[in-house]
Subunit: 200 residues, 2 copies
DNA sequence: GCTAGACTATGACGATCGTTATAACCAGTG
DNA sequence: CACTGGTTATAACGATCGTCATAGTCTAGC
């Protein structure tokens, strides 16, 4: 098949993204990741010779790219549609998992890098995922008439509040925080497009 | 001394809050928690006979109460001052730790509860901490003339976006996301107090 | 001095961790 | 048939995990 791996490799990556989003990175073992994807332990080290760090990095990149793909598609209908799709995606994941799963990018972002100077690749991948989402949102906002100076701020607020709300929902086992944030964000986007606030 | 524990007990709890905020709950061992507080391992099981779960719960409650105390104090000068203190607190922690520490409540909130029906006490404590902060902010907003129906939404947005921004800052090793969110939130609070938006 | 009770020190228990090594399977090609 | 290269199976390495048990060291009050 494709020279870069068969279907089980992809299953491992996707499963890792899901399991990391539930348990956190450092708390998830390679054995659990393999079991979760119905793959043998030996295969994980076959496909990912650099071990856990490599698998985690690819899982984060996979999740980041998936969201980015959805975002790019839905933003074609405007920032409001993109925002709704973004928030709806997370809402679906949180509810479908009965508040057990969240965002794998967030899970990686909240863990301390090892004491050495080296910054783990997975953490860098998490930063890139966040930035990718922000950039798409900000560009769409600007294209639809939002104040360019505030577009980036608003995009950061959207990503940050979505991520935070996901965590709050999981703690409370209640989707209300995400819904409250969604309502507020949709209003914000609407006013950002209609009339830029008095700046001077 | 006090019947409920000496100074080293408090050191262990405070140290646990810090270490959990860096490494995550499941990824932090009791031995590390003891070492971090310069306390012997035996002492952790002496002060916290129910083990890791009890220590984690107390650490989350400690962090939640600390922030709540600060918030209550600063909100006396109005919602804008409270917001600034809240965001400034996190900013200080993130910057002072060189992007290694974050919010222990968030760290606990993003981890999956065990398969049984029992919800870990630490997770419940995390939910209560978030709610405590939200309630204080919402009450202050209402007291200062904000639309009561939107006060709760705005308070949730503040907490969610702060938590999310902290994680984004750690991933990027850059304080900019939190600063961007802060700027936006301060503007939001200002308009919420001045003129409630056209509701329709 | 002596005892009581709070704290600490030490070591162990089975389990699991990340990782590696080695051997077995199993598809295709000759 | 043999052979080869990608995949899986199995076992093991030292290290660390959460927890417990036991014994030691303190300090207070008699």
């Amino acid at each position: 098949m494709g020279k870069s791996g068969g279907p089980s490799r992809d299953r491992i990556v996707a499963g890792a993204a899901d399991l990391i989003s539930r348990r956190g990175l450092n708390a998830t073992s390679i054995r659990e990741l393999a079991r979760h994807a119905d793959a043998p332990l030996g295969s994980t080290y076959h496909y990912f010779p650099d071990g856990k760090q490599q698998l985690a990095t690819e899982a984060v990149r996979y999740a980041g790219a998936s969201v980015e793909r959805l975002l790019r598609k839905e933003l074609a209908a405007g920032p409001a549609a993109g925002l709704r799709a973004f928030l709806g995606l997370w809402r679906g994941i949180v509810v479908a998992s009965d508040f057990r799963a969240g965002c794998p990018v967030l899970a990686v972002a909240v863990e301390e890098p090892p004491p050495g100077e080296e910054i783990p690749r997975a953490l860098t991948a998490a930063a890139e995922a966040f930035e990718g989402w922000e950039d798409l949102l900000a560009a769409s906002l600007r294209e639809h008439g939002a104040d360019p100076a505030r577009a980036a701020d608003l995009a950061t607020l959207v990503v940050a509040s979505a991520e935070g709300a996901i965590a709050m929902c999981r703690a409370r086992r209640d989707i209300a925080p995400l819904d409250r944030v969604s309502r507020h964000l949709e209003a914000l986007i609407a006013t950002a497009l209609d009339g830029p606030p008095t700046e001077g």
